[in-house]
Protein backbone atom coordinates (compact mmCIF):
# COMPACT_ATOMS: atom_id res chain seq x y z
CA UNK A 1 0.00 0.00 0.00
CA UNK A 2 3.09 2.25 0.14
CA UNK A 3 2.25 3.78 3.52
CA UNK A 4 4.78 5.89 5.42
CA UNK A 5 7.55 3.80 6.99
CA UNK A 6 7.48 5.29 10.46
CA UNK A 7 4.02 5.51 12.00
CA UNK A 8 5.24 7.26 15.13
CA UNK A 9 7.13 10.22 13.67
CA UNK A 10 4.58 11.22 11.07
CA UNK A 11 4.09 14.53 9.36
CA UNK A 12 0.78 16.24 10.22
CA UNK A 13 -1.39 18.01 7.67
CA UNK A 14 -5.14 18.59 7.44
CA UNK A 15 -7.38 16.85 4.93
CA UNK A 16 -8.79 20.27 4.04
CA UNK A 17 -5.27 21.30 2.98
CA UNK A 18 -5.06 18.32 0.65
CA UNK A 19 -8.42 19.30 -0.78
CA UNK A 20 -7.28 22.90 -1.28
CA UNK A 21 -4.09 21.86 -3.09
CA UNK A 22 -6.06 19.56 -5.36
CA UNK A 23 -8.60 22.29 -6.13
CA UNK A 24 -5.85 24.68 -7.17
CA UNK A 25 -4.48 22.06 -9.58
CA UNK A 26 -7.95 21.18 -10.83
CA UNK A 27 -8.63 24.84 -11.50
CA UNK A 28 -5.75 24.88 -13.95
CA UNK A 29 -6.59 21.52 -15.52
CA UNK A 30 -10.35 21.62 -15.91
CA UNK A 31 -12.04 24.87 -16.90
CA UNK A 32 -15.46 23.48 -15.98
CA UNK A 33 -14.58 23.21 -12.30
CA UNK A 34 -16.32 25.92 -10.26
CA UNK A 35 -16.14 26.59 -6.54
CA UNK A 36 -19.22 27.85 -4.71
CA UNK A 37 -18.87 28.73 -1.06
CA UNK A 38 -20.88 30.22 1.79
CA UNK A 39 -18.39 32.57 3.44
CA UNK A 40 -15.93 29.80 4.34
CA UNK A 41 -13.53 29.78 1.41
CA UNK A 42 -10.42 30.51 3.40
CA UNK A 43 -10.89 27.97 6.15
CA UNK A 44 -11.93 25.39 3.55
CA UNK A 45 -8.62 26.15 1.79
CA UNK A 46 -10.05 27.25 -1.53
CA UNK A 47 -8.45 30.70 -1.31
CA UNK A 48 -5.77 29.72 -3.85
CA UNK A 49 -8.48 28.57 -6.25
CA UNK A 50 -10.29 31.87 -5.71
CA UNK A 51 -7.22 33.94 -6.48
CA UNK A 52 -6.41 31.91 -9.58
CA UNK A 53 -9.94 31.57 -10.96
CA UNK A 54 -11.95 34.61 -9.97
CA UNK A 55 -14.50 34.06 -12.72
CA UNK A 56 -15.16 30.52 -11.49
CA UNK A 57 -15.44 31.29 -7.80
CA UNK A 58 -18.94 32.06 -6.54
CA UNK A 59 -19.38 33.56 -3.10
CA UNK A 60 -23.01 33.26 -1.96
CA UNK A 61 -22.48 34.56 1.57
CA UNK A 62 -23.94 32.86 4.62
CA UNK A 63 -26.75 31.18 2.71
CA UNK A 64 -26.31 27.42 2.52
CA UNK A 65 -29.66 26.58 0.96
CA UNK A 66 -28.77 28.85 -1.92
CA UNK A 67 -25.26 27.37 -1.97
CA UNK A 68 -26.69 23.95 -2.80
CA UNK A 69 -29.30 25.24 -5.26
CA UNK A 70 -26.87 27.46 -7.17
CA UNK A 71 -24.50 24.51 -7.41
CA UNK A 72 -27.29 22.36 -8.84
CA UNK A 73 -28.04 25.04 -11.45
CA UNK A 74 -24.38 25.25 -12.43
CA UNK A 75 -24.18 21.47 -12.74
CA UNK A 76 -27.31 21.39 -14.93
CA UNK A 77 -25.49 23.85 -17.20
CA UNK A 78 -22.44 21.64 -17.65
CA UNK A 79 -20.22 22.91 -14.84
CA UNK A 80 -18.57 20.77 -12.16
CA UNK A 81 -19.39 22.78 -9.04
CA UNK A 82 -17.79 22.09 -5.66
CA UNK A 83 -20.20 23.35 -2.97
CA UNK A 84 -17.92 24.13 -0.08
CA UNK A 85 -18.79 24.86 3.54
CA UNK A 86 -18.75 23.22 6.97
CA UNK A 87 -20.47 19.86 7.23
CA UNK A 88 -22.90 21.04 9.93
CA UNK A 89 -24.33 23.46 7.36
CA UNK A 90 -23.54 21.61 4.17
CA UNK A 91 -25.17 19.01 4.10
CA UNK A 92 -26.55 19.75 7.60
CA UNK A 93 -28.61 22.82 6.91
CA UNK A 94 -29.33 22.27 3.22
CA UNK A 95 -30.23 18.60 3.19
CA UNK A 96 -33.59 19.18 1.46
CA UNK A 97 -31.82 21.01 -1.37
CA UNK A 98 -29.25 18.21 -1.51
CA UNK A 99 -32.03 15.62 -1.70
CA UNK A 100 -34.14 17.21 -4.43
CA UNK A 101 -32.08 19.70 -6.44
CA UNK A 102 -28.96 17.53 -6.42
CA UNK A 103 -29.54 13.83 -5.68
CA UNK A 104 -32.98 13.24 -7.22
CA UNK A 105 -31.84 15.31 -10.20
CA UNK A 106 -28.54 13.40 -10.26
CA UNK A 107 -26.78 16.74 -10.76
CA UNK A 108 -22.99 16.59 -10.94
CA UNK A 109 -22.39 18.53 -7.71
CA UNK A 110 -19.52 17.79 -5.34
CA UNK A 111 -20.60 18.63 -1.81
CA UNK A 112 -17.62 19.29 0.41
CA UNK A 113 -18.32 19.31 4.15
CA UNK A 114 -15.45 20.51 6.25
CA UNK A 115 -14.85 20.60 10.00
CA UNK A 116 -16.59 17.29 10.57
CA UNK A 117 -16.34 15.27 13.77
CA UNK A 118 -15.42 16.14 17.36
CA UNK A 119 -11.91 16.93 16.15
CA UNK A 120 -13.24 20.38 15.21
CA UNK A 121 -12.36 20.96 18.85
CA UNK A 122 -12.81 24.26 20.70
CA UNK A 123 -15.74 25.54 18.60
CA UNK A 124 -17.88 22.99 20.40
CA UNK A 125 -20.76 20.71 19.54
CA UNK A 126 -22.73 23.15 17.36
CA UNK A 127 -19.91 23.00 14.83
CA UNK A 128 -18.99 19.33 15.12
CA UNK A 129 -20.82 17.40 12.41
CA UNK A 130 -21.45 13.93 13.78
CA UNK A 131 -24.43 12.98 11.67
CA UNK A 132 -23.37 13.91 8.14
CA UNK A 133 -22.43 10.41 7.00
CA UNK A 134 -25.79 9.12 8.19
CA UNK A 135 -27.84 11.77 6.40
CA UNK A 136 -25.92 11.55 3.14
CA UNK A 137 -25.60 7.83 2.71
CA UNK A 138 -29.37 7.32 2.67
CA UNK A 139 -29.72 9.48 -0.44
CA UNK A 140 -29.99 7.65 -3.79
CA UNK A 141 -27.38 8.58 -6.44
CA UNK A 142 -25.04 10.14 -3.85
CA UNK A 143 -21.54 8.78 -3.29
CA UNK A 144 -20.01 9.36 0.16
CA UNK A 145 -16.23 9.66 0.57
CA UNK A 146 -14.20 10.11 3.78
CA UNK A 147 -10.47 10.42 3.11
CA UNK A 148 -8.16 9.29 5.91
CA UNK A 149 -5.42 11.89 5.51
CA UNK A 150 -3.90 14.72 3.48
CA UNK A 151 -2.71 12.71 0.48
CA UNK A 152 -5.91 10.74 0.29
CA UNK A 153 -7.99 13.91 0.41
CA UNK A 154 -6.01 15.16 -2.56
CA UNK A 155 -6.50 11.97 -4.53
CA UNK A 156 -10.17 11.78 -3.58
CA UNK A 157 -10.71 15.34 -4.83
CA UNK A 158 -9.26 14.49 -8.25
CA UNK A 159 -11.22 11.25 -8.36
CA UNK A 160 -14.60 12.80 -7.56
CA UNK A 161 -14.03 15.59 -10.07
CA UNK A 162 -13.67 12.97 -12.80
CA UNK A 163 -16.60 10.90 -11.55
CA UNK A 164 -19.94 11.89 -13.11
CA UNK A 165 -22.62 12.30 -10.46
CA UNK A 166 -23.12 13.81 -7.02
CA UNK A 167 -20.57 13.09 -4.30
CA UNK A 168 -20.26 14.08 -0.65
CA UNK A 169 -16.65 14.59 0.47
CA UNK A 170 -16.09 14.73 4.23
CA UNK A 171 -13.13 16.74 5.52
CA UNK A 172 -11.66 17.69 8.89
CA UNK A 173 -10.09 20.75 10.46
CA UNK A 174 -6.97 19.79 12.46
CA UNK A 175 -3.63 18.65 11.20
CA UNK A 176 -3.71 14.88 11.41
CA UNK A 177 -1.22 12.11 10.78
CA UNK A 178 -0.13 11.56 7.18
CA UNK A 179 -0.16 7.80 6.77
CA UNK A 180 -0.57 7.38 3.04
CA UNK A 181 1.94 8.67 0.51
CA UNK A 182 1.79 10.04 -3.01
CA UNK A 183 2.20 6.49 -4.32
CA UNK A 184 -0.46 4.83 -2.17
CA UNK A 185 -3.19 3.60 -4.52
CA UNK A 186 -6.69 5.07 -4.28
CA UNK A 187 -9.83 3.90 -5.98
CA UNK A 188 -13.33 5.19 -5.21
CA UNK A 189 -15.47 2.43 -3.74
CA UNK A 190 -12.55 0.15 -2.91
CA UNK A 191 -11.73 -0.27 0.78
CA UNK A 192 -8.04 -0.59 1.60
CA UNK A 193 -6.46 -3.27 3.74
CA UNK A 194 -3.73 -1.18 5.35
CA UNK A 195 -2.58 -3.91 7.68
CA UNK A 196 -3.31 -7.61 7.50
CA UNK A 197 -4.25 -9.61 10.59
CA UNK A 198 -6.17 -12.72 11.54
CA UNK A 199 -7.83 -12.11 14.93
CA UNK A 200 -9.88 -8.91 14.71
CA UNK A 201 -10.78 -6.50 11.89
CA UNK A 202 -10.99 -2.78 12.54
CA UNK A 203 -12.94 -0.94 9.86
CA UNK A 204 -12.14 2.75 10.23
CA UNK A 205 -12.55 5.95 8.27
CA UNK A 206 -11.16 9.47 8.37
CA UNK A 207 -8.39 10.52 10.71
CA UNK A 208 -9.17 7.70 13.16
CA UNK A 209 -7.63 5.17 10.78
CA UNK A 210 -4.35 6.31 12.30
CA UNK A 211 -5.52 5.51 15.85
CA UNK A 212 -6.49 2.03 14.66
CA UNK A 213 -3.04 1.49 13.16
CA UNK A 214 -1.33 2.70 16.35
CA UNK A 215 -3.46 0.41 18.49
CA UNK A 216 -2.82 -2.57 16.20
CA UNK A 217 0.91 -1.97 16.47
CA UNK A 218 0.80 -1.68 20.24
CA UNK A 219 -1.00 -5.01 20.76
CA UNK A 220 1.21 -6.80 18.25
CA UNK A 221 2.31 -10.21 19.57
CA UNK A 222 -0.74 -10.39 21.79
CA UNK A 223 -3.40 -10.15 19.10
CA UNK A 224 -3.20 -9.83 15.33
CA UNK A 225 -5.29 -6.91 14.03
CA UNK A 226 -6.40 -6.26 10.47
CA UNK A 227 -6.98 -2.57 9.72
CA UNK A 228 -9.15 -1.58 6.79
CA UNK A 229 -9.61 2.00 5.64
CA UNK A 230 -13.18 2.35 4.40
CA UNK A 231 -12.76 5.68 2.64
CA UNK A 232 -15.90 5.21 0.54
CA UNK A 233 -18.97 4.70 2.70
CA UNK A 234 -21.23 4.58 -0.31
CA UNK A 235 -21.16 2.54 -2.43
CA UNK A 236 -19.81 0.30 0.33
CA UNK A 237 -17.21 -2.30 -0.56
CA UNK A 238 -19.19 -5.33 0.63
CA UNK A 239 -16.73 -7.83 -0.75
CA UNK A 240 -13.75 -6.57 1.23
CA UNK A 241 -15.82 -6.25 4.40
CA UNK A 242 -17.27 -9.75 4.19
CA UNK A 243 -13.96 -11.34 3.26
CA UNK A 244 -12.20 -9.84 6.25
CA UNK A 245 -15.06 -10.54 8.68
CA UNK A 246 -15.06 -14.19 7.59
CA UNK A 247 -11.35 -14.38 8.23
CA UNK A 248 -11.22 -12.76 11.68
CA UNK A 249 -14.73 -13.37 13.02
CA UNK A 250 -14.53 -10.21 15.16
CA UNK A 251 -15.20 -6.71 13.93
CA UNK A 252 -14.72 -3.22 15.36
CA UNK A 253 -15.81 -0.08 13.51
CA UNK A 254 -14.22 3.26 14.30
CA UNK A 255 -15.31 6.72 13.17
CA UNK A 256 -15.46 10.34 14.32
CA UNK A 257 -19.27 10.31 13.90
CA UNK A 258 -22.31 8.93 15.67
CA UNK A 259 -22.21 5.15 16.02
CA UNK A 260 -25.70 5.16 14.50
CA UNK A 261 -26.05 5.46 10.78
CA UNK A 262 -22.45 6.05 9.81
CA UNK A 263 -19.64 3.62 9.01
CA UNK A 264 -20.65 1.39 11.93
CA UNK A 265 -24.22 1.31 10.74
CA UNK A 266 -23.14 0.53 7.20
CA UNK A 267 -20.86 -2.33 8.20
CA UNK A 268 -23.55 -3.69 10.55
CA UNK A 269 -26.06 -3.70 7.69
CA UNK A 270 -23.68 -5.53 5.38
CA UNK A 271 -22.64 -8.13 7.93
CA UNK A 272 -26.07 -8.50 9.51
CA UNK A 273 -27.47 -9.50 6.16
CA UNK A 274 -24.61 -11.42 4.61
CA UNK A 275 -22.29 -12.63 7.35
CA UNK A 276 -23.41 -12.01 10.96
CA UNK A 277 -20.29 -11.29 12.95
CA UNK A 278 -19.49 -10.32 16.53
CA UNK A 279 -19.09 -6.59 16.39
CA UNK A 280 -18.51 -3.41 18.42
CA UNK A 281 -19.15 0.05 16.96
CA UNK A 282 -16.84 2.83 18.15
CA UNK A 283 -17.83 6.45 17.66
CA UNK A 284 -19.94 9.02 19.45
CA UNK A 285 -22.50 7.05 21.43
CA UNK A 286 -25.70 8.95 20.65
CA UNK A 287 -24.43 12.13 22.30
CA UNK A 288 -23.18 15.57 21.26
CA UNK A 289 -19.56 16.65 21.56
CA UNK A 290 -18.21 19.67 23.44
CA UNK A 291 -15.36 22.18 23.43
CA UNK A 292 -11.81 20.97 23.96
CA UNK A 293 -8.65 20.17 22.06
CA UNK A 294 -9.07 17.40 19.46
CA UNK A 295 -6.74 15.06 21.35
CA UNK A 296 -8.55 15.66 24.65
CA UNK A 297 -11.90 15.00 23.02
CA UNK A 298 -10.76 11.78 21.34
CA UNK A 299 -9.41 10.62 24.72
CA UNK A 300 -12.58 11.57 26.61
CA UNK A 301 -14.85 9.80 24.13
CA UNK A 302 -12.41 6.86 23.91
CA UNK A 303 -11.78 7.24 20.20
CA UNK A 304 -7.99 7.40 20.41
CA UNK A 305 -5.44 4.59 20.43
CA UNK A 306 -6.15 3.77 24.09
CA UNK A 307 -9.87 3.60 23.45
CA UNK A 308 -9.28 1.25 20.56
CA UNK A 309 -7.02 -1.00 22.66
CA UNK A 310 -9.68 -1.13 25.38
CA UNK A 311 -12.25 -2.18 22.78
CA UNK A 312 -9.89 -4.80 21.35
CA UNK A 313 -9.59 -6.37 24.82
CA UNK A 314 -13.33 -6.17 25.28
CA UNK A 315 -14.19 -7.96 22.07
CA UNK A 316 -11.55 -10.61 22.83
CA UNK A 317 -12.90 -11.33 26.29
CA UNK A 318 -16.61 -11.10 25.51
Amino acid sequence: MNLVNDLINVERKATREGFGEAMSLLGKKNKNVVVVTADLGESMKVDDFERENQNRFIQVGVAEQNLMGVSAGLALSGKIPFAVSYAVFNPGRNWDQLRVSVCYTNANVKIVGGHSGVTVGPDGATHQALEDIAITRVLPNLMVVVPCDFEQAKKATFAIASFKGPVYLRLTRPKTACITTATTPFELGKAQVLREGKDITIFACGSLVYEALLAAEEVRGEVDIEVINVHTIKPIDEETIIRSARKTGKVITLEDHQINGGLGGTVAEVLGEKNPTKMIRMGMKDCFGESGEPGELLAKYELDKNGVIKTIRKILND
Binding site: V34, N55, R56, I58, V60, G61, A63, Q65, N66, M68, G69, V70, S71, A72, G73, L74, A75, L76, S77, G78, K79, P81, D96, Q97, V100, S101, Y104, T105, N106, A107, N108, K164, G165
Partner: protein
Protein backbone atom coordinates in the same frame (compact mmCIF):
# COMPACT_ATOMS: atom_id res chain seq x y z
CA UNK B 1 -49.30 34.93 -35.71
CA UNK B 2 -50.45 32.55 -33.01
CA UNK B 3 -53.64 33.47 -31.22
CA UNK B 4 -52.29 33.62 -27.68
CA UNK B 5 -55.72 33.93 -26.11
CA UNK B 6 -56.78 30.74 -27.79
CA UNK B 7 -53.54 29.01 -26.78
CA UNK B 8 -54.19 29.94 -23.16
CA UNK B 9 -57.68 28.51 -23.48
CA UNK B 10 -56.28 25.28 -24.91
CA UNK B 11 -53.80 25.08 -22.05
CA UNK B 12 -56.64 25.49 -19.54
CA UNK B 13 -58.68 22.78 -21.24
CA UNK B 14 -55.75 20.35 -21.04
CA UNK B 15 -55.14 21.26 -17.39
CA UNK B 16 -58.72 20.42 -16.47
CA UNK B 17 -58.73 17.21 -18.49
CA UNK B 18 -55.48 15.86 -17.08
CA UNK B 19 -56.26 16.77 -13.47
CA UNK B 20 -59.72 15.21 -13.66
CA UNK B 21 -58.22 12.04 -15.05
CA UNK B 22 -55.46 12.01 -12.44
CA UNK B 23 -58.04 12.58 -9.67
CA UNK B 24 -55.48 14.59 -7.70
CA UNK B 25 -53.25 17.58 -8.18
CA UNK B 26 -53.26 21.37 -8.00
CA UNK B 27 -55.81 23.24 -10.10
CA UNK B 28 -56.06 26.91 -9.18
CA UNK B 29 -52.44 27.99 -9.65
CA UNK B 30 -52.07 26.26 -13.01
CA UNK B 31 -55.27 27.80 -14.41
CA UNK B 32 -54.37 31.26 -13.11
CA UNK B 33 -50.99 31.40 -14.80
CA UNK B 34 -52.02 29.83 -18.13
CA UNK B 35 -51.95 33.20 -19.91
CA UNK B 36 -48.32 33.66 -18.99
CA UNK B 37 -47.38 30.16 -20.16
CA UNK B 38 -49.10 30.84 -23.48
CA UNK B 39 -46.93 33.94 -23.90
CA UNK B 40 -43.83 32.05 -22.81
CA UNK B 41 -44.04 29.13 -25.23
CA UNK B 42 -46.13 30.68 -28.03
CA UNK B 43 -45.43 34.41 -27.80
CA UNK B 44 -41.72 34.29 -28.57
CA UNK B 45 -40.49 35.11 -25.06
CA UNK B 46 -37.99 32.25 -25.11
CA UNK B 47 -35.81 30.44 -27.64
CA UNK B 48 -36.27 26.70 -27.85
CA UNK B 49 -36.24 23.79 -30.28
CA UNK B 50 -38.96 21.30 -29.55
CA UNK B 51 -37.18 18.59 -31.53
CA UNK B 52 -33.97 19.21 -29.59
CA UNK B 53 -35.25 20.00 -26.10
CA UNK B 54 -31.81 20.23 -24.48
CA UNK B 55 -30.19 22.27 -27.27
CA UNK B 56 -27.33 24.11 -25.59
CA UNK B 57 -28.33 27.63 -26.61
CA UNK B 58 -31.96 27.34 -25.47
CA UNK B 59 -33.41 29.67 -22.87
CA UNK B 60 -34.14 27.84 -19.62
CA UNK B 61 -37.57 27.78 -17.98
CA UNK B 62 -37.27 26.81 -14.34
CA UNK B 63 -40.57 25.97 -12.65
CA UNK B 64 -39.80 26.42 -8.99
CA UNK B 65 -43.37 26.00 -7.75
CA UNK B 66 -43.51 22.42 -8.92
CA UNK B 67 -47.15 22.00 -8.00
CA UNK B 68 -47.94 24.17 -11.05
CA UNK B 69 -46.74 21.23 -13.17
CA UNK B 70 -50.00 20.77 -15.16
CA UNK B 71 -49.65 24.18 -16.80
CA UNK B 72 -46.10 23.47 -17.92
CA UNK B 73 -46.96 19.96 -19.08
CA UNK B 74 -49.90 21.29 -21.10
CA UNK B 75 -47.83 24.09 -22.65
CA UNK B 76 -44.95 21.75 -23.53
CA UNK B 77 -47.30 19.21 -25.11
CA UNK B 78 -49.11 21.87 -27.11
CA UNK B 79 -45.75 23.27 -28.19
CA UNK B 80 -44.82 19.85 -29.51
CA UNK B 81 -42.25 18.63 -26.99
CA UNK B 82 -44.14 15.33 -26.54
CA UNK B 83 -47.44 13.81 -27.71
CA UNK B 84 -50.50 15.49 -26.28
CA UNK B 85 -52.03 12.08 -25.44
CA UNK B 86 -49.29 11.63 -22.85
CA UNK B 87 -50.94 14.30 -20.69
CA UNK B 88 -53.45 11.62 -19.71
CA UNK B 89 -50.72 9.76 -17.84
CA UNK B 90 -50.26 12.57 -15.28
CA UNK B 91 -49.50 11.15 -11.83
CA UNK B 92 -49.92 7.55 -13.00
CA UNK B 93 -47.47 4.76 -12.33
CA UNK B 94 -44.61 4.76 -14.83
CA UNK B 95 -45.48 8.17 -16.28
CA UNK B 96 -42.95 10.80 -17.33
CA UNK B 97 -45.46 13.32 -15.98
CA UNK B 98 -44.70 13.01 -12.30
CA UNK B 99 -46.87 14.78 -9.73
CA UNK B 100 -44.11 17.36 -9.48
CA UNK B 101 -41.74 17.85 -12.43
CA UNK B 102 -38.48 15.96 -12.46
CA UNK B 103 -35.22 16.58 -14.23
CA UNK B 104 -32.90 13.63 -14.08
CA UNK B 105 -29.46 13.60 -15.57
CA UNK B 106 -28.31 10.31 -16.96
CA UNK B 107 -24.63 10.19 -17.76
CA UNK B 108 -24.60 7.02 -19.80
CA UNK B 109 -27.10 5.88 -22.42
CA UNK B 110 -30.48 7.34 -23.26
CA UNK B 111 -32.72 8.90 -20.70
CA UNK B 112 -36.12 7.89 -21.99
CA UNK B 113 -37.69 8.55 -18.58
CA UNK B 114 -37.02 12.28 -18.91
CA UNK B 115 -39.98 14.43 -19.95
CA UNK B 116 -38.57 16.72 -22.67
CA UNK B 117 -38.49 20.40 -21.82
CA UNK B 118 -38.26 20.06 -18.05
CA UNK B 119 -35.18 21.87 -16.72
CA UNK B 120 -35.33 21.28 -12.97
CA UNK B 121 -36.82 19.15 -10.25
CA UNK B 122 -39.39 21.23 -8.43
CA UNK B 123 -41.61 20.71 -5.45
CA UNK B 124 -40.11 21.83 -2.17
CA UNK B 125 -40.66 25.57 -2.56
CA UNK B 126 -37.71 27.90 -3.01
CA UNK B 127 -35.35 25.38 -4.54
CA UNK B 128 -35.82 26.28 -8.18
CA UNK B 129 -35.14 29.94 -7.50
CA UNK B 130 -31.57 29.08 -6.50
CA UNK B 131 -31.21 26.60 -9.35
CA UNK B 132 -32.19 29.38 -11.77
CA UNK B 133 -29.50 31.63 -10.28
CA UNK B 134 -26.93 28.87 -10.80
CA UNK B 135 -27.95 28.48 -14.43
CA UNK B 136 -27.83 32.22 -15.07
CA UNK B 137 -24.37 32.36 -13.47
CA UNK B 138 -23.18 29.58 -15.79
CA UNK B 139 -24.51 31.41 -18.84
CA UNK B 140 -22.85 34.64 -17.78
CA UNK B 141 -19.58 32.89 -16.90
CA UNK B 142 -19.34 31.50 -20.43
CA UNK B 143 -20.60 34.73 -22.04
CA UNK B 144 -23.55 32.86 -23.53
CA UNK B 145 -26.67 34.49 -24.91
CA UNK B 146 -29.23 32.16 -23.35
CA UNK B 147 -31.30 33.46 -20.48
CA UNK B 148 -33.31 32.01 -17.64
CA UNK B 149 -36.96 32.49 -16.65
CA UNK B 150 -37.86 31.26 -13.19
CA UNK B 151 -41.50 30.84 -12.17
CA UNK B 152 -42.39 30.86 -8.50
CA UNK B 153 -45.59 31.31 -6.53
CA UNK B 154 -46.52 34.07 -4.11
CA UNK B 155 -46.54 31.80 -1.07
CA UNK B 156 -43.10 30.64 -2.18
CA UNK B 157 -41.84 34.09 -1.17
CA UNK B 158 -42.42 32.96 2.42
CA UNK B 159 -39.47 30.57 2.03
CA UNK B 160 -36.19 32.06 3.19
CA UNK B 161 -34.32 30.42 0.33
CA UNK B 162 -35.95 32.68 -2.28
CA UNK B 163 -34.40 35.72 -0.59
CA UNK B 164 -31.02 34.05 -0.38
CA UNK B 165 -31.28 33.53 -4.12
CA UNK B 166 -32.41 37.08 -4.91
CA UNK B 167 -29.52 38.69 -3.04
CA UNK B 168 -27.13 36.46 -4.96
CA UNK B 169 -28.72 37.26 -8.34
CA UNK B 170 -28.40 40.96 -7.58
CA UNK B 171 -24.81 40.66 -6.39
CA UNK B 172 -23.77 39.01 -9.64
CA UNK B 173 -25.81 41.39 -11.79
CA UNK B 174 -27.66 38.60 -13.54
CA UNK B 175 -29.40 40.55 -16.26
CA UNK B 176 -30.09 37.26 -18.04
CA UNK B 177 -32.47 36.15 -15.30
CA UNK B 178 -36.16 36.97 -14.87
CA UNK B 179 -38.09 35.86 -11.81
CA UNK B 180 -41.78 35.56 -12.54
CA UNK B 181 -43.87 35.55 -9.39
CA UNK B 182 -47.49 34.46 -9.55
CA UNK B 183 -49.45 36.65 -7.20
CA UNK B 184 -52.74 34.77 -6.96
CA UNK B 185 -53.27 35.55 -3.26
CA UNK B 186 -54.00 31.99 -2.22
CA UNK B 187 -52.05 29.15 -0.72
CA UNK B 188 -52.92 25.69 0.46
CA UNK B 189 -54.37 26.55 3.85
CA UNK B 190 -56.03 29.87 3.10
CA UNK B 191 -55.72 33.36 1.73
CA UNK B 192 -52.11 34.43 1.56
CA UNK B 193 -52.65 37.68 3.46
CA UNK B 194 -54.02 35.74 6.42
CA UNK B 195 -51.64 32.79 6.41
CA UNK B 196 -48.51 34.95 6.14
CA UNK B 197 -48.53 38.39 4.54
CA UNK B 198 -45.69 39.08 2.08
CA UNK B 199 -46.36 42.77 1.56
CA UNK B 200 -44.77 45.04 0.53
CA UNK B 201 -43.52 42.52 -2.03
CA UNK B 202 -42.56 44.99 -4.74
CA UNK B 203 -40.58 47.12 -2.30
CA UNK B 204 -38.88 44.11 -0.81
CA UNK B 205 -37.81 42.79 -4.21
CA UNK B 206 -36.62 46.26 -5.21
CA UNK B 207 -34.64 46.52 -1.97
CA UNK B 208 -33.03 43.17 -2.79
CA UNK B 209 -31.69 44.65 -6.01
CA UNK B 210 -34.20 43.41 -8.57
CA UNK B 211 -35.84 45.52 -11.29
CA UNK B 212 -39.51 44.91 -10.54
CA UNK B 213 -42.55 45.09 -12.81
CA UNK B 214 -45.99 44.57 -11.34
CA UNK B 215 -48.62 43.74 -13.92
CA UNK B 216 -51.95 42.10 -14.54
CA UNK B 217 -50.84 38.54 -15.13
CA UNK B 218 -53.99 37.66 -17.01
CA UNK B 219 -53.32 40.39 -19.57
CA UNK B 220 -51.08 39.21 -22.40
CA UNK B 221 -50.25 42.67 -23.67
CA UNK B 222 -48.92 43.59 -20.24
CA UNK B 223 -46.92 40.37 -20.03
CA UNK B 224 -45.26 40.91 -23.42
CA UNK B 225 -44.57 44.55 -22.56
CA UNK B 226 -42.98 43.72 -19.22
CA UNK B 227 -40.54 41.32 -20.86
CA UNK B 228 -39.75 43.98 -23.44
CA UNK B 229 -39.09 46.61 -20.79
CA UNK B 230 -36.93 44.15 -18.86
CA UNK B 231 -34.48 44.10 -21.77
CA UNK B 232 -33.72 47.76 -21.06
CA UNK B 233 -31.88 46.69 -17.89
CA UNK B 234 -29.23 44.25 -19.11
CA UNK B 235 -27.14 44.33 -15.94
CA UNK B 236 -29.86 43.66 -13.44
CA UNK B 237 -32.05 40.65 -12.63
CA UNK B 238 -35.75 41.25 -13.19
CA UNK B 239 -38.83 40.32 -11.20
CA UNK B 240 -42.23 40.35 -12.83
CA UNK B 241 -45.09 40.12 -10.36
CA UNK B 242 -48.08 38.63 -12.14
CA UNK B 243 -51.26 39.62 -10.40
CA UNK B 244 -53.48 36.76 -11.44
CA UNK B 245 -56.85 35.35 -10.61
CA UNK B 246 -56.43 31.91 -9.08
CA UNK B 247 -58.43 29.42 -11.12
CA UNK B 248 -58.91 31.95 -13.93
CA UNK B 249 -61.42 30.87 -16.57
CA UNK B 250 -63.56 28.59 -14.43
CA UNK B 251 -66.10 30.51 -12.37
CA UNK B 252 -66.45 28.11 -9.48
CA UNK B 253 -62.68 27.79 -9.04
CA UNK B 254 -61.75 31.46 -9.35
CA UNK B 255 -60.35 33.05 -6.18
CA UNK B 256 -61.05 30.08 -3.95
CA UNK B 257 -58.08 28.80 -1.97
CA UNK B 258 -59.79 25.43 -1.50
CA UNK B 259 -58.88 24.77 -5.14
CA UNK B 260 -55.17 25.20 -4.47
CA UNK B 261 -54.56 21.53 -3.85
CA UNK B 262 -57.49 19.62 -5.31
CA UNK B 263 -58.51 18.29 -8.70
CA UNK B 264 -61.96 18.54 -10.31
CA UNK B 265 -64.31 15.56 -10.18
CA UNK B 266 -65.58 14.36 -13.55
CA UNK B 267 -68.80 16.40 -13.14
CA UNK B 268 -66.85 19.51 -12.17
CA UNK B 269 -64.51 18.96 -15.08
CA UNK B 270 -67.45 18.74 -17.47
CA UNK B 271 -68.78 22.05 -16.16
CA UNK B 272 -65.35 23.64 -16.36
CA UNK B 273 -64.75 22.46 -19.92
CA UNK B 274 -68.13 23.81 -20.95
CA UNK B 275 -67.16 27.22 -19.50
CA UNK B 276 -63.83 27.10 -21.35
CA UNK B 277 -65.42 26.41 -24.76
Amino acid sequence: MVDLVDKAREIRVEIIKMLAKAESGHTAGALGIADFFACLYFGGLINFKKEEPYWEERDRVVLSCGHYAPVQYAALALAGFFPIEELGSLRKLGSRLQGHPVRQIKYFGNNDKQLPGIENTGGPLGQGVSVAVGMALASKMDKKKWSVVCVSSDAEQQEGQTWEAYQCAAKYGLGNLTFVIDRNEIQISGNLGEVMPIEPLKDKLTAFGLRVFEINGNNMVEIMEAFGKGKLFPGQPKAIILKTMAGKGVSFIEGNYRWHGRAPTSEEAEKALWELK
